[in-house]
Symmetry: C2
Subunit: 405 residues, 2 copies
């Protein structure tokens, strides 16, 4: 076995994520390191907190990074809030709702579910009724569940949670930076994400924001790590050290109490992702994602493919399309990869082998990426015996209508 | 608040880690991304496994990365092995032994400790006696505990663990790639590390290796994630989803069962760290670290500083030196940073304010870094009123004796 210099093929990543990182983000990671308590580095940490307050549209003091992939953020949120026996209500609209249930069970919580069939979302009334029925300590949901390409509407859910005494967690991994995630307006108490979708970075850092009322619950379980300071502790210790948000809050606060060694290169990446978002501005950025998503949907439809799921609640950044009868979905994906160096997504569980998932997010939510993908897919479908029509003109029209130049 | 381009000062990081990353490692992170199931990417994953088998000196099939900082690897090892009520025996020679105890407690284990005073290590007889007395399911220890700069000898410990029916875990965060960590010869069952010490990378990826007998214990707790495949499960479910090594083994195996989205840029970094180690070779690399460590110790002594801890068991890559009476340790560190842009380490707990910890590891285990640090420290000590003698010539002699050109 030889170990050559890294030299991956130039691939256009048009699946449900990860996607190509913005070149600025890649370059940021090559920046030389600093020690974690160096004042120049803690200044970057503070800037990163401030930047993610903007990205999350929140005033929350506790807005920082968890050092791991998106699901590290999810687990940090759930394990820091849930004690064994606590009630968790999960809104399940797809695979990632199932993940919330599973993590909740591992925390020892009593887990209830309000579920929609795959390809649909829940109504506000369904959520409110479940909150009333279960009176959970925590209500948890996924904003955009890439497994089904559906985006769960969340307006009013924060108020409903407050009416029923629940904390409100949102997994915004697949939408933050691409769709509107107004944390404070939603009244969400903890929201987490990852870099590898609409934020246009690599997987490996999980932005998190925590409301004061959630922070208070977490602080009620604060235990200082042995050997660092006078042992103190109140409440039931959080089951994980790595995901102990009370410790992470101490680490990211002015007390800078040592915990892990901050993943400096990933912090540089996360900071740059946020800078790119803030410089572009939300209106332009959301319009770009919406325009590209609409163009992808229009192009796929025009090509003769049937779109998957409830059209009214589709995520703007990833689109599901049924694999036509008689076509081998994996053969098409293989052709796309080999002949065009484009990756489109397969799918999980009940949709496995039934739909492709095609994303246009972050850096890749752009005209050439969308049109190139559609043109290549059309060619691959023909090569596999499906009489695809052209989708490109319909997509161009949608891009124009959406103002994506 | 403005958010300028990243532009950190060029800092020479000579603390106990993180240290400056090798320039090749920084460049590797700027490499464009691939999807996690792309055959080109899974080939890189397999190469990374093969490379870390070399770095860990092991034949273990299960040798891969945990996506998080070094303590993510520690927690993954402990939480995947320990069930509530299991007995854990920790060898505690410093702060990071305390961390093992604490994580064990959070896993619900019954934790016993065999401890040495800070600055000393345990004898083989002490460890064997504790194994015999406690009969733990798992014996856990830190190889090099940077809090005290001591390296615990581990020859024969694997055999002792087998005699007493214990699995054997080693935290090699601070030594892997700088001191000899012969996993198979030690008979260690799980060993974890981080990149930010002797491997010369950024924090954020935790290499791990797992023996077949430990893998069997973990496989006995394997539960496939809901929504991915037929729900299966045996044994008590691991308390963490993110750190579930059974799932991570499925993800890194040929089945490639989806779990997290691999942190591709950190994988590129980890792969490059290992390539650098393998290209240099262990004899040269360990000699370089030992020579630089000896030179640092000789230089500090010649300067008039008293070294901390048992000289026979000092880590070769980080040296503790007492802060002379009447000298403000933080004032010296501040001068080092401001006037020379060099970072040296403070210390924790009982040593806080008493010693500096000065490292020379990974890329920084080199002649100019050692001599520059000593010359700068000498000047700073004089400026703070301590009549330091010159340490540079003694260090040069030690470098020459150690063959570090």
């Amino acid at each position: 076995m030889t170990f050559a210099d890294l030299d991956p093929p130039a691939r256009l990543l048009m699946g449900p994520g990860p996607v190509n990182a913005h070149p600025r983000v890649l370059r940021a990671m090559a920046t030389p390191l600093l020690g974690q308590f160096d004042p120049e580095f803690t200044a970057y940490m503070n800037e990163t907190m401030a930047l993610y307050r903007l990205v999350f549209q929140t005033e929350n003091r506790w807005t920082f990074l968890v050092d791991g992939t998106a699901r590290a953020g999810i687990e940090a949120a759930l394990v820091s809030l849930l004690e064994p026996g606590d009630k968790l209500l999960v809104a399940n609209i797809g695979r990632f709702g199932g993940l919330l249930e599973e993590i909740g069970e591992r925390c020892g919580a009593e887990v209830a579910t309000v579920a929609a069939p795959w390809g649909e979302v829940l109504t506000a009334a369904q959520i409110e009724a479940a909150l009333a029925a279960h009176k959970p300590k925590l209500f948890a949901c996924v904003h955009g569940d890439t497994s089904t390409t559906m985006a769960q509407p969340l307006e009013g859910v924060g108020e409903a949670c407050r009416r029923h005494g629940a904390l409100f967690y949102v997994d915004a991994t697949a939408t933050l930076g691409g769709m509107d995630v107004p944390v404070d307006r939603w009244g969400a108490d903890i929201v987490t994400a990852g870099l590898q979708k609409c934020l246009g970075g690599p997987s490996g850092s999980a932005p998190i924001t925590i409301s004061d009322r959630a922070a208070e619950v977490i602080a009620g379980r604060r235990h200082v790590e042995r050997g660092l300071a006078q042992a103190t502790g109140n409440g039931r210790r959080i089951a994980s050290n790595y995901f102990d948000l009370a410790m992470l809050m101490d680490y990211w606060s002015e007390t800078r109490l040592n915990h892990h060694t901050e993943a400096a290169s990933m912090l540089y990446a996360a900071r740059e992702c946020a800078r790119v978002v803030v410089e572009e501005g939300f209106p332009a950025r959301f319009a770009r994602h919406a325009g590209c998503g609409a163009a992808m949907a229009a192009g796929l439809s025009a090509m003769g493919l049937m779109l998957y799921g409830d059209g009214a609640h589709r995520m703007s950044n990833v689109t599901g399309a049924f694999i036509p009868e008689g076509v081998d979905g994996e053969a098409v994906r293989g052709r796309m990869r080999r002949d065009y160096s484009i990756e489109i997504g397969t799918s999980f569980g009940p949709l496995h082998g039934k739909i492709w998932r095609i994303g246009a997010m972050g850096y890749n939510a752009m005209r050439p990426a969308v049109l190139t993908t559609l043109a290549a897919l059309e060619a691959c479908l023909r090569a596999e015996g499906f009489a695809a029509r052209s989708g490109v003109e319909a997509a161009r029209a949608a891009l124009q209508a959406g103002g994506v130049g």
